[in-house]
Symmetry: C2
Subunit: 544 residues, 2 copies
């Protein structure tokens, strides 16, 4: 077997629904004597030649709904006209709206197959808003992805340039690295040169939903001074991004002017870029946040393209000391109010969360979000469980992420080793993704997700049987697992050996334990009843 | 300032008590206009020339107690006679015994100063057995270290060779790497060539307590076949190791023959090396574990040298599927019985724990250990929160470790990226240590330890003030933090810049937030009362 198991497609009743997986054939047989296969979740998308766009997988599904009309816009990259879809007057082309009407879209069937659940679960969760399926009608290249606490925990990878470092190919490379290592969504947070071109290149090449923070581009449009921002600049940016196909947008509408004084005594003030921009605007004009005041129109734009709103936590804590403070919770409470407004417009909506939170304060974040935001999917950045390890914040935050996801967070935004220090490169994207796939999977295990449990079980059985190739192929990162093993024992025969270099042949507990099991089987058949009796007695004597 | 802050000594009332720290002078003044300093915990020991032993820091303290007599043994390395201390007839030279008698030893004063607590807390915790201070009278080179849930969470690094890879200098190098990155104790798990010489070299160079698993050497003494083991071989090994200075020993006395059938239906059988060895012996002879049967004599040997017993969990789960099963808990219950026996002999004792445990089952391990083992310090290997990421098990297990430590585990045994795949090298030791210092620190933060909180606060204040040098110097790994920052912005001027390459100058939220704070101060002084009033109303209207 190769390093990466071959791609395979699960096909729905409708043959246009083809869910990609990586199929691993392990060295065990089922009771019918057939090889057991394990299908691994895969978001890497079709392999394409460099510079090519992905096929428009969802175009026919969207067209068949007859709720959008087509116009044209000029591509930022090619200069050619490309199709723009928007809702026809009076229609609501959002997945939330279809679910409320009890209509299962092909996108819903796709995610049901991908998650291994009945489509009715998908319909229910989307209808009541406990899940979102970000799928802009102008991003037909994306494979549908559902985000909600009853589904697999998702991981978002942030990419994007800054004014210090900007190159379109580099960002596309980061996108491909992110999805190669399992990113479920990707946010393009570019703030440097060529924002529009970079986003366009990413969208056309992305098999996963793409998110943005439109206030960044709006700020560029007004020359970079937050005080010059205005609703019209924001609205025009949002429409342009929706037309290009952005699937979800972070909107910092919950940071109200009245919350700003609550941040004055904080250790690290306002650490959200969008939050600090909006706070600067509010105080400069002594006016309420224009995103809050125009939130209904924001919803109307979002509905037209089925853009999912991600309500930004502009006041998230930037240090342990500021966690769960009044400023943070005042904004979270306002986000709950905005969730209610979005729902009245049939707009899909999720809620963003912190940030830096010590382990003992993590659960409260999920509890308050569920309570105040009516179970809207929670989408958290980490949180980092300590401030003291810059350079290792993929780990400080994977700890917080695993905990918050096991409490019910639906999607985790990764943090890379470069957090607080510099712009991540492709190696950092990989490091962030692997740490976060671990956090998400650990939470799926804690929540008892059958697909997660199946994979761990298959890998552990392979481990106990010394099926090294199966162990590598079922691993999160087969290439790394294989290379670590082969450092000390590269010979092909070592792939069948009942030990590795950690303990050597005589001290391998698994080898001893297997031997023991075989040797003991006869003896135990005789003795086991008395053993179990006395063992159980000892144990139960004081057991609770 | 350099990469590593200079070493400094906190001196006790008794000037022979000198606790090493790394003193960081940060760019802030206190109210008296003096520079603020932060003392960072440090276990790296004295710098020595290659091949030299450390000074015998504790020798005078031990001699002054007049409860040990001196003999001689031949050094495995130099062939020269070296001093061996053992209890004089009728004396109990254990720290537990002194604490029970209300006598504070210099070792206790040392750890009180190191931990920043009154010596009475140390006395109380040692007296009631909720903490241990592993300090063999034959390891006078070690700096005293306390392990208990009321103190800083400790991290143990496993080193040691295997038959596949064995070299004494390599193991000393791993020891020095481990303590450089903050190991609180180190276990030498060698099973390959030169077990005795390797251990001797490690002990004479180690500033931290050293642990071993004596059954490994005992097995070598009988030719490597577990069936040939016997009590006499074990006892002789234990005495020899105690004479050489081993501070704590893992004893697999809790795995009773009656527990073995409980492992038959496990996915991964018995994964502890010591556990699989003892189980093999028990079944081969159809006899009860000789370590269980001779546990009282084990305690008598331990008391003679003040060896701390670490009760091994030979039946820890080796996969998520086996977590918290009957076999594991039957053994844990037996360990509680052995804790009681050790206490009657004034022997210091701690209890080892798993292993592989999903997040939702972690707390139960701590609860049962506390209940059944009468609050003896819990010492856990991870646990790994998922099985699916060989190559990244420092991360899968740091997640479990942070959680279990926040519930009260006293010491964490690290896991390196090579776990399940091969023998760790020095780079793996560093990767394991950094992940585990993060886990331990995150737990200290969650438990509200003042020293942990102080460090995070100082680092976050430095971050918000753009004091880059302070941020690096306060970081877990200053060299890595600095190098990540400098990748994109190497110029000296960038160390004073109010941004990094992540966001660039115009999108730095911290810079905006600082500006905001300064600009807003006048305006807010006027407006703040009305802001706070309205903000507080909004928040409190629905707040719980």
């Amino acid at each position: 077997m190769g390093t990466v198991a071959p791609k395979f497609y699960l096909v729905g009743d409708d043959p246009s629904i083809r869910v990609p997986v990586r199929r691993v054939e392990v060295g065990e047989m089922n009771s019918d004597g057939e090889p057991i296969t394990i299908d691994l979740y895969d978001t890497s998308g079709e392999s394409m030649e460099s510079g090519s766009s992905l096929p428009a997988l969802r175009a026919q599904w969207i067209d068949d709904r007859h709720d959008t009309s087509m116009g044209f816009r000029t591509s930022a990259i090619t200069g050619r006209d490309i199709v723009v879809r928007r809702a026809v007057e009076g229609s609501l082309p959002t997945q939330h709206s279809y679910a409320k009407r009890g209509l299962a879209t092909p996108e819903m069937h796709f995610v049901a197959l991908r998650e291994g659940v009945p489509v009715q679960v998908v319909l229910d969760e989307l209808a009541n808003g406990r899940a979102v399926l970000p799928a802009n009608v102008n991003h037909p290249e994306s494979e549908p992805m559902i985000i909600g606490s009853r589904f697999l925990v998702k991981v978002n990878a942030n990419i994007g340039n800054s004014s210090v470092s900007a190159d379109i190919d580099t960002e596309v490379d980061k996108l491909l690295t992110a999805v190669m290592y399992g990113a479920d969504t990707v946010m393009d947070l570019s703030t440097g040169r060529d924002i529009v071109k970079t986003r366009e290149a990413i969208l056309r090449r992305s098999p996963v939903p793409i998110g943005t923070v439109p206030i960044y581009e709006a700020l560029q449009r007004v020359g970079g001074n937050p005080r010059e921002l205005n609703w019209e600049a924001f609205r025009d940016t949002m429409v342009a991004q929706a037309e290009s196909g952005v699937d979800y947008m972070t909107i910092h509408a919950g940071l109200r002017i009245a919350h700003i004084p609550l941040t004055v005594s904080r250790v690290t003030g306002i650490v959200s870029r969008g939050g600090s921009i909006m706070a600067t605007w509010c105080l400069a004009h002594h006016r309420e946040n224009f995103l809050y005041e125009n939130f209904l129109e924001i919803c109307e734009i979002a509905a037209r393209f089925d853009v999912t709103l991600s309500l930004g936590d502009g006041l998230r804590p930037g240090s342990i000391a500021d966690a769960n403070d009044e400023a943070q919770f005042a904004e979270l409470f306002t986000l709950g109010e905005l969730v209610g407004i979005a729902r009245t417009q049939d707009v899909q909506v999720m809620v963003e969360g912190p940030g830096h939170v010590p382990i003992n304060l993590i659960a409260e974040n999920v509890e308050k979000e569920r309570d105040w935001c009516d179970d809207a999917p929670f989408y958290t950045l980490g949180p980092l469980a300590t401030d003291f390890a810059p350079g290792y914040d993929h780990i400080t935050s994977a700890i917080g992420a695993a905990i918050i996801a096991s409490h019910g967070t639906a999607m985790l935004c990764y943090v890379t080793p470069k957090e607080h220090l510099g712009l991540p490169d492709a190696a950092d994207v990989k490091a962030g993704m692997t740490a976060y796939k671990i956090a998400a999977h650990a939470a799926d295990i804690a929540k008892g997700h059958p697909a997660a449990l199946e994979r761990d079980l298959a890998l552990s059985r392979a481990r106990f049987d010394f099926r090294w190739e199966d162990q590598f192929n079922l691993a999160l990162d087969p290439a790394v697992a294989r290379s670590y093993h082969d450092e000390a024992l590269p010979a092909p025969a070592a792939k069948r050996a009942h030990f590795c270099s950690m303990c050597g042949p005589k001290f391998c507990s698994m080898a001893l334990s297997r031997e023991l099991r075989e040797e003991a089987e006869i003896s135990m058949r005789v003795k086991s009843s008395e053993f179990i009796q006395s063992g159980a007695e000892i144990y139960l004597a004081k057991g609770d």
